[in-house]
Symmetry: C2
Subunit: 188 residues, 2 copies
């Protein structure tokens, strides 16, 4: 039986990421889970209009998306607890820059994307920043023949109702393959 | 050491979902992983412009997002392998409708969102449909006191490089809590 849950997004668990921007000359990082894949070259991040990070994204037109591993849950949560308005978060992580030069990235996060701001959608309380990915960086230890080893990445997921952080489970099947048993001859 | 991965989205693993729409009077479902949380009331789904499902979304202005459990990996993969252009997928699942009446939803998926098309972003090869969530439905067995039991939901994640489907792991910490050990007195 189906129960009504309200008109609420239920796409959780979703990867938790740290959005980075240069604000007033210093790197700032904000933890979010309002994030999505637009396509292989674009990513969306949604920040509350009051967020300090938004100032830097608007000013520089660049930002970074940093994918933490589950081992970084304490630092990740911390960057969602305190605002750059009140606390200088520039020294929480070792920071590096890529080709854009104005999108600070977190060295200890196993994957990092630097983005040019491509489009901004204005919602009532949030700004949705759509980034065109300029370059993506991966830790050598999680890259195998140019591909990501997701078990080694060990990503961190967020769930809304229970304020939970979760780890990734097992690889259970291969896409564009496991469903072939249902394909009738000639229908592919 | 950081390696360049190319200008590629690395927000995987991401939840895999089935997007539903009424096309030519019949329910059609397409499996995607280009999906994201815009905010608690909005979701983005990206479909290739050639997708059959897009016809229905544009025509009716409504669509559904159905969250499969990992046990549904075969049916989920199948709906990504075959196009509604060639194969009638209307009888793959038991279908139900909600208040919008034109957004077919999958009974066997533990969570379902019915959406009004709020905005469309046109990319070169894709349409990004932003849905305003009209109502969300959850299976009684995974809802506890109006909240989602994510272990019972047992969602399915997709990874790009290795075409993988993955399950959810363990709950490892509580958000807005585990990072408090880093908060200095008075900085919250």
């Amino acid at each position: 039986m189906k129960l009504e849950y309200g008109a609420k997004n239920c796409l959780f668990p979703i990867p938790t990421v740290l959005v980075g921007a240069l604000v007033e000359g210093k790197p700032n990082f904000n933890t979010i889970a309002f994030v999505g894949i637009i396509d292989l070259g674009h990513i969306s991040v949604t920040l509350n209009k009051a967020r300090y990070t938004s100032i830097g994204i608007r000013e520089k037109g660049t930002f970074s998306v940093n994918v933490p591993s589950a081992e970084m849950v304490v630092e990740t949560d911390y960057c969602g607890l305190v605002s750059g308005n009140k606390v200088d978060k520039s020294s929480v992580f070792e920071v590096f820059y890529g080709k854009l030069e104005t999108a600070p990235m977190i060295e200890s996060c196993p994957m990092n994307m630097e983005c040019n701001l491509s489009q901004t959608l204005e919602l009532a309380h949030h700004d949705v920043f759509i980034g065109e990915i300029a370059m993506t960086y991966g830790d050598e230890r999680i890259m195998v023949d140019g591909k990501v080893d997701y078990s080694a990445l060990h990503p961190l997921f967020f769930t809304m109702d229970d304020n939970g952080y979760w780890s990734l489970g097992e690889r259970i099947a291969t896409a564009w393959d496991v469903g072939k048993v249902m394909v009738e001859k000639g229908s592919l």
